[in-house]
Amino acid sequence: MDIVTRAINWFGDPAQWSGVDGIPNRVQEHLFYSGLSLLIAALIALPLGLFVGHTGRGAFLAVNSAGAARALPTVGLVGLTVVVFGIGLTPTLLPLVALAIPAILVNTYAGVQQVDKQLRDAAHGMGMKGRQVLFQVELPVALPLIILGLRTAAVQIVSTATIAAYVGLGGLGRYIFDGLARREYEVMVGGAVLSVLLALGTEALFVGVQRLIVSPGLRQRAPVR
């Protein structure tokens, strides 16, 4: 009970709402690391996934290496990059990007690859060229899965971006690490709550994006995980 009250008080303290260590700044930092990582990961994984799905080339390699990449331990990657590059953005972004790529890649690939053969056939039969098939048929039809992949990746990034604090950067992890080190549990709990909220917000955001950009004609088809 006590910890809950303390956490609520912590949230209520005006000091928490301004300055470098204030919630707005930390949230902003967190979103910055997360957004940047997601952007980089998407720039790598989306074209790759589309290519592999469209051509079928390298599918085995892509899917399996993505599977193995899921197992990359974030802490290890952070450590490695910290030791090699020193502190800074790189050790934060690299593990997060590595974390996000598999989900985006695999879902994009699967989305495109699962497009009904008949549909692809019909598209060719109407005289669409390769690119037109990709961008007018495969991509829009795969969109629910692609967005699901981005969403999974984004949520993972947001809840993992706390590690930025481990390498001396900001973000919500700061509260967790500092609260832990200083035995200020209300700070830690506050940080955890904020990062859960952020993750849920991210999820909601992607659900919203999906609503917005996925054709209503595809809603019926439940996306596969």
Binding site: A68, A71, T74, G79, G173, M188, V196
Partner: protein, 233 residues
């Protein structure tokens, strides 16, 4: 730069690496087993009582979003330096993944199959054990694979509070700016995950003989769903 690579470190630490590997495996696998044991009944209940699924799903996705470090730290006050501190959060993550797959798996039983099973006189429990669950196996195992691999990666986070297998190599390496243990740790973690995944694939192979039988060359007729749903245009 103060970091450097030392090959000799590896053979010097075979014993340690073996021990850490086992510990890591243990910390990753126990949550998978526990998660499955909880997710199965939970998933079954969610399929039966449809109203329950949405709240359960919401709850598990909140759990899934919890930063693991925060959970570890909160738990350490209660569970100390026992494996539970790592196992409980990972069980929760496993659960978040598996409940969905159990439900999807059970729902993947085609309507006509469950109808036919009921009509042949399968009672509730028998139908579950002999029809629904076996058919759900591929989807459930798909979830187990995801959970196992991500657990293996997550166990390392425990090293930040002193409980973990291979994660200790990372902490040690970071503290001493020593990349050899870090890289060895990463390689072993990935290798462990690939191996565990292969075991699960093998398990699926054993449990689902029907999925591996190749399709016969005989033509299969047009999608029956079309005929069934068409009705009067």
């Amino acid at each position: 730069m103060t970091w450097d690579w030392r090959w000799s470190w590896i053979p010097d630490h075979y014993d340690l690496l073996g021990e850490l590997l086992l510990q890591h495996l243990y910390l990753a696998v126990v949550p998978v087993v526990l998660g499955l044991l909880i997710a199965l009944p939970l998933g079954i209940v969610c399929v039966r009582v449809r109203r329950l699924y949405a709240p359960v799903l919401a709850l598990t996705s909140v759990f899934y979003a919890l930063p693991s470090l925060a959970l570890f730290v909160v738990l350490i006050d209660y569970t100390g330096f026992t494996g539970w501190t790592v196992i409980i959060p990972l069980t929760i993550y496993t659960l978040s993944v598996l409940v969905r797959n159990v439900v999807d798996g059970l729902r993947s039983v085609p309507e006509h199959v469950s109808q036919a099973a009921t009509a042949m006189g399968f009672g509730g429990v028998r139908r579950l054990l002999q029809v629904d669950l076996p058919i759900a196996v591929p989807v459930v195992i798909a979830g187990l694979r995801v959970a196992t691999v991500s657990n293996i990666s997550l166990v390392s986070v425990g090293s930040l509070i002193g409980i973990s297998g291979l994660g200790q190599l990372f902490v040690d390496g970071i503290q001493r700016s020593f990349i050899t243990p870090i890289i060895v740790g990463i390689v072993l973690t990935v290798a462990l995950a690939v191996l565990a995944d292969a075991v699960l694939v093998g398990l699926q192979w054993l449990l689902t003989p029907w999925t591996r039988a190749g399709r016969s060359t005989e033509p299969v007729t047009a999608d029956p769903a079309g005929a069934a749903t068409a009705g009067v245009a």
